[in-house]
């Protein structure tokens, strides 16, 4: 393995202790005309094949619908986006694949089928398969000739995925494994030809992954699950009864399955973060259109401040998810490229490239899925009674959105994971959090310096807020680790508080940097609403950070120590009051004028 040679390369989680400049980040406004054309093609695909047929897709009477839609996606090349060219793929860059996930994300049930096939279905072989396996299977998956599913979850092994009971037993002649067990919640199971199956060999601690063709036999299924949402996506229980799998179909090595599962999920998580954006924008635009048409008290409801507030909040959160997803996406892309340039294999560089940013992947998943839920919830509210009716689009959007907080690791698991990863890296010395945390601790007991802020500079105060937010995290997390040691992992409430502080900080910083970069190109006048949204986001993020911080501090400190910490929090959460009402009105008015989400 080759180490990263570029010492200045950005590391995962490092944003907590590093000051990032606007020019260092990628913003969606940087996409090229070619990438935009791809996004447009995806939108055209949804507008012809999915959106007008959503009823047909979701009632599942036509069991062929999804299969055919996926094959059409295959014809357009959408199933081979991240597959190397030698296996009939297009080998696009990481952020291009994020953009495509973003646009296709508004496809409801289709998006789940698409994500399950191209992500967890295809990537295990692309990333861990040997040459023969890749040659044999990947072209079929990249073109849509075969569709794939991923069988990890079991009735008794969900979040604790490594505890699965499915067994793989080697035959006496050493030629094949016999897989026996039950899998649950398997997306695409109804039409998949290929199953990535995780099972245990003997009493191994960890899972092993296998590539299983449906034609191997011994696979049966329950009926389709009756689900709350994404009703058109096939989800079934899958039973393996003496399913014989040739030994050459073991993926990677014995006991490496859990690692495969985790690493593939890292990619899935950030893609899910991006994958909510298209849906969020669509819902916001629909709600906006409705609010302009619906009149009460002789006025379109869009004229009411309460509705404007909702629209602006929806937009601001979407803007934030989008900013952080593409920023992290580019960091990952750069990391992959630099590892590959240092001689690492394509698959290895992709794996390591993403793994480095596991924290950001988890942030993207949580922030994105919660933005989506917020958006559909307010979407329903703006539609009022019609929001509760299946005649209008909001009910479906509301139901479809809910899964995002559950799969690809629940948001609880992701919150814990992101804090756990940072602490682990800090203790291992990979991420030097300890020095800056000590500096903050020292600052706490010294007289506050009154840095004067040049208010004439754009975001002067907001930038100092971001610095302080990071200090608040270092203060709270540092003290928590110091006081609780290893036990912090059992204090999940505190872990969740810290996770919220980290997520909001990363989002707020990404929003500011994006707008700053955009202003540099287009000027302040053209970015008025982006500036408003940035101010809004920072002030809200700071509030949330303060609340989470206080909750945490109150739960593991006492007496004088607590007093010092609370004072510190107060110091680090200072911000001149922002007139959020006016900012939100301006943002909402711009959208009302444009008739859609337009940032």
């Amino acid at each position: 393995m080759v180490a990263v040679s570029n010492q200045n390369a950005i590391k995962g989680g490092e944003f907590l202790i590093r000051e990032t400049e606007a020019h260092e980040i990628f913003i969606p406004e940087d996409f090229t005309a070619e990438q935009r054309m791809m996004a447009q093609a995806c939108e055209d695909f949804l507008n012809t094949e999915i959106h007008p047929k959503v009823e047909e897709m979701d009632n599942m009477k036509n069991t062929e619908f999804m299969h055919k839609a996926m094959q059409k996606a295959g014809e357009l090349g959408l199933l081979g986006i991240t597959v190397p060219e030698e296996y009939s793929g297009l080998n696009m860059s990481f952020n291009t694949s994020m953009l495509i996930a973003d646009v296709l994300g508004s496809g409801g049930s289709f998006s789940t089928a698409y994500g399950a096939h191209t992500g967890i279905g295809t990537q295990p072989i692309v990333l861990y398969g040997n040459e023969e396996q890749k040659k044999k299977y990947v072209p079929k998956l990249a073109t849509g000739e075969w569709l794939a599913c991923y069988c990890l979850t079991e009735p008794d092994a969900g979040s604790d995925a490594n505890s699965g009971k499915t067994k793989a037993v080697l035959s006496a002649d050493g030629k094949y494994y016999t897989i026996t067990g039950q899998k649950m919640w398997i997306s695409n199971a109804g039409f998949a030809e290929l199953f990535i199956v995780f099972a245990k060999i003997e009493d191994d601690k960890n899972l092993t992954a296998f590539i299983v063709e449906k034609s191997f036999g011994g696979i049966t299924m329950n009926e389709e699950e009756k689900k709350l949402g994404i009703k058109g996506s096939s989800t079934r229980q899958v039973f393996f009864n003496d399913c014989k799998v040739p030994v050459e179909n073991m993926l990677s090595t014995r006991g490496n399955g859990f690692k495969i599962a985790v690493n593939v999920l890292n990619i899935g998580r950030i893609k899910l973060g991006a994958g909510v954006i298209g849906g969020c924008k669509m819902v916001t635009s629909q709600a906006l259109t409705y609010s302009k048409e619906r009149k009460q008290f002789k006025t379109p409801i869009a004229n009411f401040g309460a509705i404007k507030r909702k629209l602006a909040e929806m937009a601001t959160k979407i803007y934030a998810t989008e900013s952080l997803c593409y920023r992290a996406g580019q960091n990952i892309e750069d990391n992959i490229n630099s590892l590959a340039a240092n001689g690492m294999s394509d698959a290895e560089s992709k794996l390591k490239g993403v793994e480095q940013f596991a924290v950001e992947c988890a942030i993207a998943k949580v922030h994105g899925s919660e933005t989506l839920d917020f958006t559909v919830d307010e979407g329903v509210q703006i539609y009022g009674g019609m929001g509760f009716s299946e005649e209008a689009p909001m009910a479906r959007a509301y139901r479809d959105a809910r899964i995002s907080r559950i799969y690809e690791g629940t948001n609880e698991i992701n919150r814990m994971l992101l804090v756990g990863t940072i602490i682990k890296r800090a203790l291992k010395g990979e991420l030097d959090i300890i020095t800056p945390a000590m500096a903050v601790a020292k600052e706490l007991t010294s007289v506050p310096s009154f840095e004067s802020i040049d208010a004439s500079l754009l975001f002067a105060e907001e930038k100092s807020v971001i610095k302080n937010m990071k200090k608040a995290i270092l203060m709270v997390a540092g003290k928590a680790v110091q006081n609780l040691g290893e036990k912090i992992n059992d204090e999940q409430e505190i872990m969740m508080n810290i996770a919220d502080m980290i997520i909001e900080t990363y989002a707020a910083e990404s929003v500011l940097l994006r707008t700053e970069k955009m202003v540099g190109v287009k000027g302040e006048k053209a970015c008025e609403q982006q500036i408003n949204m940035s101010k809004l986001y920072v002030s809200e993020a700071l509030e949330k950070l303060g609340t989470a911080g206080k909750e945490a501090v109150a739960s593991f400190t006492q007496g004088d120590e607590q007093k010092v910490m609370l004072m510190g929090l107060k110091r680090y959460t200072k911000l001149t009051p922002v007139n959020t009402k006016e900012l939100r009105r301006a943002v909402a008015d711009a959208m009302i004028e444009e008739g859609k989400y337009c940032f």
Binding site: M37, A41, L78, G80, L90
Partner: protein
């Protein structure tokens, strides 16, 4: 078969176009291939594939139209020509197309029945006249065999089937083909396909626009109870002043 498809670069049909100082203000507007041209292009791709011929797209426009041209290349054209001039009127555009076509002798020159911005619907006829070849419009179905084209036209109260020998000019509309979404590979290869920029031939436009008028905004709608006929009559007399 050698096919030329002429595409226009027009504002997205969903775009709102504001007027500033009596002129359309196109800053920030998204541009697309003219929707009717898109149908022509889709059929041309099918005919090119079937005949293993060559398909060229042409646009008369400034450098800002190149993204629209690239899209046509992504959809399937083999190469492209941009006549570097701002299209002032139908005659000017038709003269440019005719000048290129004279040098290249295409079997088919296809375009939309009209553009979706100015809706002139004259270019195909003028090109055909300038080249001295037939023109069929609006063409809703097109098959080519043995140097002969068979077309379907919709006419007042019915349909008409027309045949003509190649070469000819066509103004196309749906359902001549289903418009095509460019596939990802097409998009990726589009930037490598040849796009030739040529200078326009000198011709003067024959028409010029003197003025644009934006229709007056629609007034507010007043709802009157269905039983209140008197009120309705009163308002029609006093407010609407139509009685």
């Amino acid at each position: 078969m050698k096919i030329l498809v002429c595409i226009s670069h027009v504002p997205d049909t969903n775009a709102k176009i504001p007027f500033k100082d009596g002129q359309p203000d196109l800053a920030g507007v998204t541009f697309v291939i003219g929707p009717y041209d898109d149908f022509a292009l889709a059929r041309a791709v099918e005919l090119r594939d079937a005949s293993q011929g060559k398909l060229t797209v042409l646009n008369v426009g400034g450098a800002d139209t190149e993204q629209t041209i690239r899209k046509a290349l992504a959809i399937g054209a083999d190469d492209a020509i941009r006549v570097n001039a701002s299209p002032t009127d139908s005659f000017f555009v038709a003269s440019q197309i005719a000048a290129i076509a004279k040098a290249e002798s295409y079997d088919l020159i296809m375009m939309g029945r009209e553009t979706s911005d100015y809706n002139g619907g004259q270019v195909h006829g003028m090109v055909a006249t300038l080249l001295g070849i037939p023109c069929v419009t609006p063409c809703m179905k097109l098959d080519v065999a043995g140097g002969k084209a068979t077309m379907l036209r919709e006419i007042e109260g019915g349909k008409e089937t027309v045949t003509a020998n190649l070469p000819l000019v066509l103004g196309c509309q749906e359902p001549i083909a289903e418009w095509k979404i460019p596939n990802m590979r097409g998009i990726m290869s589009a930037k490598a396909k040849p796009l030739k920029v040529v200078e326009p031939v000198a011709v003067a436009a024959k028409t010029s626009v003197t003025k644009y008028e934006v229709p007056a905004a629609r007034g507010n709608c007043k709802m009157i109870d269905k039983d209140n006929v008197e009120e309705l009559v009163k308002l029609l007399k006093t407010e609407a002043k139509v009685l």
